[in-house]
Amino acid sequence: MITWIRRNLFRSITDSILTVVSASILGFVVFQVFQFVFVTGRWEIIQVNLKILLVGRFPEELMYLVGFSVLATCFSIASLASGANRTIETTQRLSGRLWELFQRFGLIIATSTFLIVLAGDLDAILFGAYVILSILGGRLFGRARRNTSLRKLPGWLWVTINALLPLILIFLTMGQAALEEWGGFLINFYLAVVSIALSFPLGVLLALGRRSTLPLLRWLCTAYIELLRGAPLFVLLLLAGVALEFFIPASIAPDAIFRAITVFTLFTAAYLAEVIRGGLQSIPKGQAEAGKALGLSTFKITFLITLPQALRNVIPAQIGQFISLFKDTTLAGVALSVLDLLNVGTAITKQDDYLGQGLIYESLAFVGLLFWVGSYVMSRESQRIEKKLGVGIR
């Protein structure tokens, strides 16, 4: 212990000074945060407004739809995660596996528990239980794929089946409630999930187009990608907000949420295309040549040989793209006046009961917590996948 301290903290005089300085900065920050969270913070503003923060003014009688789509999303994520994982798991003791699970999802579990405690009613507790059940169900479904004849299902079909259920439910929910009743974290969550699902195929097509041997196709895709990558997302959203009416007939002019989804999808697809192009370039030529030698068509070579490997190689970068999309959903709030989590978070401090009391810290801390937990867990998962695939180890 003492050797460790001497080696890691007080190697030399400069080292000791650095240690003292950074320890005091760290200590100050930790102290301030603890004081804020447990002593000075006045959290009743969050507790009172919890529903608005999470789902906006979503009608009470339609809440079951939201619940179902969240459950379906949990189900598919769990089933995709355990269905794609083909490595043979080492026989670990139960405690070891539980510890691993805790490391991976402890933050999410803690945050959900915190939310349930804040909500403090029976529905929230029941909902938590349902989420756990649906994750377990998804896991069983995913495992069934590995162990039964479902295995013969091609990968894309498996992914589509899993993605369809939550998407259909989400669209159904969107259709049911009027737009102005939407709000809070629900908007960020739905915007992110729907845009991710839609931008992925578009990104793949754009990447393939940019690598295509057909010059016209290549130029079109390159122009699209470079144009969108050179434009700020915020200005694109503003443009969609005020100028879309001019370009499409008024009869099909969509409301703000669909505008946001369109812009996010088109924008993320361009970035995703570059990521996937990187993956395609990392595949040795021999792979495609081997496919040719077997007499496969270009289509089959692409979709059976090069693309799967390319996508696997850039999983972390793709997840990184999805994380930034998730964080960027806040832009829809200011650009299109959608009542997303951040907008609601600043708006609740202007309520009559809380006006001018300096509660912006509390509300922004809560908003930040939700975004931070979501992004952090995603980035940790991507690091785990990266390690597991052995990509990037020289």
């Binding site: 890691n8 903290l9 190697r11 080292d15 650095l18 240690t19 950074s22 320890a23 900065i25 760290l26 920050v29 057909l214 010059p215 016209l216 196709l217 079109l220 144009l227 990558r229 050179g230 434009a231 700020p232 997302l233 915020f234 200005v235 694109l236 503003l238 443009l239 005020v242 100028a243 009416e245 001019f246 370009f247 499409i248 007939p249 008024a250 994380i323 964080k327 960027d328 806040t330 832009l331 709030g333 200011v334 951040l342 600043t346 300096g358 912006i360 810290y361 922004l364 908003v367 930040g368 975004f371 931070w372 992004s375 952090y376 980035s379």
Partner: protein
């Protein structure tokens, strides 16, 4: 048995792979054109219906708004406001890129430190900031830090009596005199310092001693700047509180401060990760070789590892710079008068939306292209020449 040479039967043109390829491309092109034509047709129709301008004539209309901290008159044309917004965007971009690079590099190195405390501090910073939305940081900086934590002007903080920090902005000491003259002076000083450093390197190459080019360059630069300062009689001006505002010095707008601070904090966390990854990507043998010839820790970092790490980091850094510039458009959400905010105000004042925002997009595109040209130039200079 000799192989039978068969003349290939003629492939009908509709199954010829070349025809098919061209047909596919032409179809794709036609589809794109059809889409654009449809959009354009709708645009024409809608514009005709609402009788809105479609060209850039609105740039000549009077602006009808003022930009804080700028003597732009209300009657001046919108064009001038756009130029001012463009300059403000560039201001944020330059300062943001410089500060984010410095902070990011320091934190990236800190994350690899042997010192446990320094390492933890770096990790906490990166993991905390990287996973928060930029807009949240910006809102926090604006609403919670600048407008709430900063004191009112009556009891402003006066660190060292050099600065005036209040919720009306931050005033810093500034020089008196013509900025253009001083700019030219500083530029020529930098040029001379650069030449001195190059000469030093050439001499050191011959004599085999340490060049200390940076040391010599910086000293030359400082001496020259002081000389210019004294020769042309520039002076300092300290800001002080004057009633409800500050006088003297340079006043930085609160929104400018909030925007730059949040952009720097956010981007530096990404740059730190890039720097860390690049340092790790420098082959281990390089560091071991530096140890073998008994370089000190800082020499090893400065002379061996960092130059090679920056070569690896350059393309990713360029992307971060582009992101920072594009993210500066978020200044519009806290009323910092950069390009997007100007466009938004003019559209709100009745200028046509499509031309105004298209112009804005084009300007951003141009800035992005120029930035990536510069980055590519440096990248080519730095890149390892391989066969």
């Amino acid at each position: 048995m000799s192989p039978q040479l068969s003349t290939p039967s003629k492939v009908p043109f509709y199954r010829d792979i070349r025809t098919l390829k061209w047909a596919l491309q032409v179809l794709a092109l036609l589809a794109v054109f059809a889409l654009l034509y449809w959009l354009y047709g709708n645009y024409q129709e809608n514009v005709a219906k609402s009788s809105i301008q479609t060209d850039l004539r609105f740039l000549d209309n009077p602006a009808n708004f003022t930009i804080p901290g700028n003597d732009l008159d209300q009657s001046q044309p919108v064009r001038d406001a756009f130029v001012e917004g463009f300059l403000n965007t560039l201001r944020v971009a330059f300062i943001g890129v410089a500060l984010a690079t410095i902070l990011g590099t320091l934190i990236g190195i800190a994350r690899l430190s042997k010192n446990f405390m320094v390492r933890t501090l770096g990790t906490v910073y990166v993991e905390l900031v990287r996973n928060l939305p930029l807009l949240l940081l910006l809102t926090f900086m604006n609403l919670a830090v600048v407008l709430q934590a900063f004191p009112r002007i009556e009891n402003a903080w006066l660190p060292l009596d050099l600065f005036v920090v209040s919720n009306r902005g931050i005033a810093i000491p500034w020089f008196i005199g013509s900025p253009a003259q001083l700019g030219i002076g500083i530029l020529s000083a930098a040029l001379i310092a650069f030449v001195v450093a190059r000469v030093r390197i050439r001499q050191a190459d011959k004599s085999g001693k340490q060049d200390r080019a940076w040391l010599f360059g910086i000293i030359t630069f400082l001496v020259l700047v002081v000389l210019i300062w004294l020769l042309f009689g520039y002076g300092w001006e300290l800001p002080y509180v004057d009633g409800r505002g500050t006088t003297g010095g340079l006043r930085l707008d609160p929104s400018f401060f909030a925007l730059v601070a949040s952009l720097v904090i956010y981007t530096s966390s990404h740059i730190a990760e890039i720097v860390r990854g690049s340092i790790l990507a420098v082959s281990r043998g390089q560091g071991e070789a530096a140890d073998a010839i008994a370089l000190t820790g800082s020499q090893k970092m400065r002379l061996i590892i960092l130059p090679q790490a920056f070569r690896i980091a350059m393309p990713a850094l360029g992307n971060q710079y582009l992101n920072l510039i594009k993210n500066s458009s978020l200044g519009a959400t806290i009323s910092y008068f950069e390009l997007t905010q100007i466009a938004q105000i003019t559209v709100g004042n009745g200028s046509p939306a499509v031309p105004a925002f298209s112009l804005t997009l084009l300007v951003y595109l141009a800035i992005s292209l120029v930035t990536s040209l510069i980055v590519n130039f440096f990248n080519r200079r730095l890149a390892l020449v391989e066969r």
